[in-house]
């Protein structure tokens, strides 16, 4: 089996498994006052300090959450509510058109249920937000801007956004800036303070940590209304008994991954080049999507003209190659990727694409398996692609 879906989730590091296992054996509510509580609290706070250190943040800026979706929702809704409470004119939530659904759907809800107005920033054909596009969107009516959210690196095509520049523009207008850095942390140099962003989403299971453990890095001077009310943990922004093992596992994985980043990503980038080159030989008309320069090292997003992505995925799966087509809705019905559509691809190209994502356990054999399988798979998928008229398939 060749696992090439690391952007969906990546194997948990053995060190994280040990750390979580060990922490689960410990007793204590980190908010309790007795000895057990103090022990638990010490583990959490040491994790907070290490995580902050690895990401260029201060410990007090780390808010532990249950993962990327929660962090995105907390940032989008919490910042929107806080900003509007200060000034009711602030209705506009400005986000890129290629955000993850955890951002897009949260904004859509704010628009449909909370009186927000969604401003979708278009991207160029490489998937990049032009800084001037953001500047124009803010300048159109600065008083009504509630917040800006642009992801650090895209989960489908891997395109990296000029985050520091975009955050700087938002600050020119006095507007807070959030970034979903779920795919970036561990793959790119992410320094919270240096980037200038006000809030940053990250999660554990994309970099070798446990599922259900993530964080929102949130500057101390940024107001955020909580989603979860209760015991007042995490600066009163995120109530709930602290998940000691989750915090320990998240931090262990993040610190190790950040420490090994240059070495790992250099190896991954080389394998990724081999994969793309090999696929190109087998399928000469393959189209490589995303930004050739500003791109995550481990993502190869490819369009195979004349194929349905779902057919390709199924045929590769049958040959032991595991990859992804991109976004899927609740019923599991594949939708054409909103990311590719935003980048100007037509519906057929948006449906006929695959994402291969490489990670810390990827080997040359995995890449060889893709290269060996892709030719016959594409040939068969093309035949099936024409068996059902366009727009009806899969």
């Amino acid at each position: 089996m060749a696992y090439l879906d690391h952007a969906a989730t990546t194997p948990v590091l053995p060190e994280a498994v040990s750390a979580v296992t060990e922490a689960l054996g410990g007793l204590g509510n980190a908010s309790a006052l007795h000895g057990s509580g103090r022990t638990a609290r010490r583990r959490v706070e040491e994790s907070r300090e290490s995580l902050a250190d690895a990401l260029g943040a201060r410990p007090s800026e780390v808010i532990f959450t249950a993962g990327g979706t929660e962090s995105d929702n907390l940032a989008l809704k919490g910042l929107f509510w806080a900003r509007r409470a200060e000034d009711p004119r602030r209705r506009r939530v400005i986000v890129s058109a290629v955000e993850h659904h955890a951002v897009l759907d949260a904004v859509q809800w704010l628009a449909s249920a909370q009186g927000a107005e969604t401003v979708l920033l278009p991207v160029d054909r490489l998937g990049r937000v032009e800084p001037d596009v953001l500047r124009d969107a803010l300048a159109a009516d600065p008083d009504s801007a509630a917040l800006v959210s642009v992801m650090w690196a895209n989960n489908e095509v891997g395109t990296i956004q000029p985050i520091a520049e975009l955050a700087g523009i938002a600050h020119e207008f006095g507007v807070p800036f959030h970034t979903d850095a779920v795919q970036a942390v561990g793959s790119l140099a992410v320094d919270f303070a240096e980037s200038g962003v006000d809030a940053l989403t990250m999660t554990g299971h994309k970099l070798g940590g446990p599922y259900g453990a993530g964080a929102l890095l949130l500057r101390r001077d940024v107001d955020c209304v909580p989603l979860l009310h209760g015991g007042g943990q995490e600066r009163d922004v995120r109530s709930g008994t602290l998940d000691v093992a989750g915090a320990v596992g998240l931090t262990t994985a993040t610190c190790i991954t950040v420490l090994r980043r240059r070495q790992t990503t250099a190896r991954i980038a080389e394998l990724r080049e081999k994969l793309v080159a090999g696929v190109r030989v087998a399928v000469p008309d393959v189209v490589v999507n995303g930004d050739p320069e500003h791109r995550l090292p481990g993502i190869a997003h490819l369009t195979f003209p004349g194929c349905e992505g779902d057919s390709l995925l199924m045929l590769l799966d049958a040959r032991g190659v595991e990859c992804s087509t991109g976004s899927a809705c609740a019923a599991g019905v594949a939708q054409p990727s909103h990311v590719l559509l935003a980048m100007g691809a037509d519906d057929a190209a948006a449906r006929g694409s695959l994402r291969f994502s490489l990670g810390h356990t990827t080997t040359a054999d995995d890449v060889a398996a893709v290269v060996a399988a892709i030719g016959p798979v594409v040939e068969r998928a093309r035949r099936a692609g024409t068996a059902v008229p366009a727009g009806t398939g899969a």
């Binding site: 057919s311 799966d317 609740a330 019923a331 019905v333 594949a334 035949r383 068996a387 009806t392």
Partner: protein, 359 residues
């Protein structure tokens, strides 16, 4: 063989897929997403089309340890089944959408794609027997689905596998429970999958609008009531007529005829519904041409009665002369011809009448 198991989320298709695995086939499960607006979980499962059904199908596939995918055929289904259903009613006929779905979706769009992807056959949980190209009724007469499969050609049947034909529904449920499939006691699907609330007339009104018209008595020609659209009626229907005037003698009246051109519904006494000659079009022969005329038994609606008949083929037209009358035969339904329990073929009913007694 490499086979594709169509899994609706119900008990039948889950057991059919399980039996295909047991038979040594390389099985891949698929669930057909047929609705462009899948109902929410709160609506509950109705045997197809809901998110809960696709989850049930996925869960069954996971228990069987087979790959599982969802194929989005919503656009094809809308065009070939739903639009056809509405158009048939608008033309005064009564279609059978399950039959159309087998003909156009499961054993056309899905089968074509499956073959192109390298599969040899499509497996479904239909209750019918199929062996050596011969399609027969299920051993469970109450659950037999050969009627809605009789529209398939020999080419389509050559790539079909129905593993449940020799098993009663009760035994299928027991087997599902023994296999640890959670859908073992899931209620049967019924009615029409794309009309979630079961209100066919309301569905047709939404698609065709309301056009008030007259309900006319067949004998006197008198207007005896009004309706909101002739498409809401089916030949043989008795309930829901809301007639203003009671028939002389007070006997019940039935829909005898729908005239879409004048938006008129004709009603009359039940005996006028009795027919013994049925004409049908576009025959499909399940296992080869049976000859110009032959004796057989015919079924004129799903789960309907069977009549012995002499069938005469006149080109693209089939005329069945029934040896016993049937009541309430609706145009648009299938005339399915059987030799005993063996399906010979089918054709779409265009008209039915009481043949004049020869002088």
């Amino acid at each position: 063989m490499k086979v594709l198991a169509a899994m609706s989320g119900g008990v039948d298709s889950a057991v059919a897929a399980a039996r295909a695995v047991d038979a040594g086939h390389d099985v891949t499960g698929i669930h057909l997403a047929l609705s462009t607006n899948p109902a929410t979980l709160r609506t509950g499962a109705r045997g197809c089309c809901t998110i809960e059904d696709s989850n049930d199908a996925r869960r069954a596939a996971d228990v069987l340890g087979i790959p599982f995918y969802i194929w989005d055929l919503a656009e094809r289904f809308r065009a070939d089944v739903v639009d056809d259903f509405v158009a048939e009613y608008a033309a005064g006929r009564t279609p059978n959408p399950c039959l159309r779905c087998n003909e156009k979706i499961k054993f056309s769009a899905v089968l074509d794609r499956a073959l192109a992807l390298g599969f040899d056959a499509v497996v479904t949980g239909h209750h019918a027997r199929l062996a050596d190209g011969v399609l027969r009724r299920s051993v469970d007469a109450g659950k037999d689905q050969s009627y809605v499969l009789a529209v398939l050609t020999p080419q389509q049947l050559a790539h079909a596998i129905f593993p449940l034909g020799d098993t009663t529904k009760a035994d299928v449920r027991a087997e599902a429970a023994a296999r640890g499939l959670a859908v073992a006691d899931k209620p049967d699907s019924h009615d029409i999958c794309f009309i979630a609330d079961g209100d066919t007339r309301g569905f047709l009104t939404r698609h065709l609008g309301s056009t008030p018209g007259d309900i006319v008595d067949a004998g006197s020609g008198a207007i005896v009531g009004s309706h909101a659209g002739a498409h809401g009626f089916t030949v043989g229907q008795r309930r829901g007529l809301h007639l203003d005037r009671v028939a002389p003698g007070g006997e019940p009246r039935y829909v005898l005829e729908i005239r879409p051109a004048t938006n008129t519904v004709v009603v009359g006494p039940g005996e006028l519904l009795d027919v013994d000659e049925v004409a049908a079009e576009r025959p499909v022969w399940t296992s080869g041409y049976p000859g110009e005329q032959f004796e057989c038994s015919v079924q004129l609606r799903a789960h309907g009665m069977v009549s012995p008949a002499r069938v005469v083929i006149e080109g693209e037209r089939v005329v069945a002369r029934l040896h016993t009358t049937q009541r309430g035969v609706a145009a648009g339904q299938a005339l399915v011809m059987y030799d005993g329990d063996r399906v010979l073929g089918s054709a779409t009913i265009s008209s039915a009448r009481r043949a004049p007694v020869p002088a």
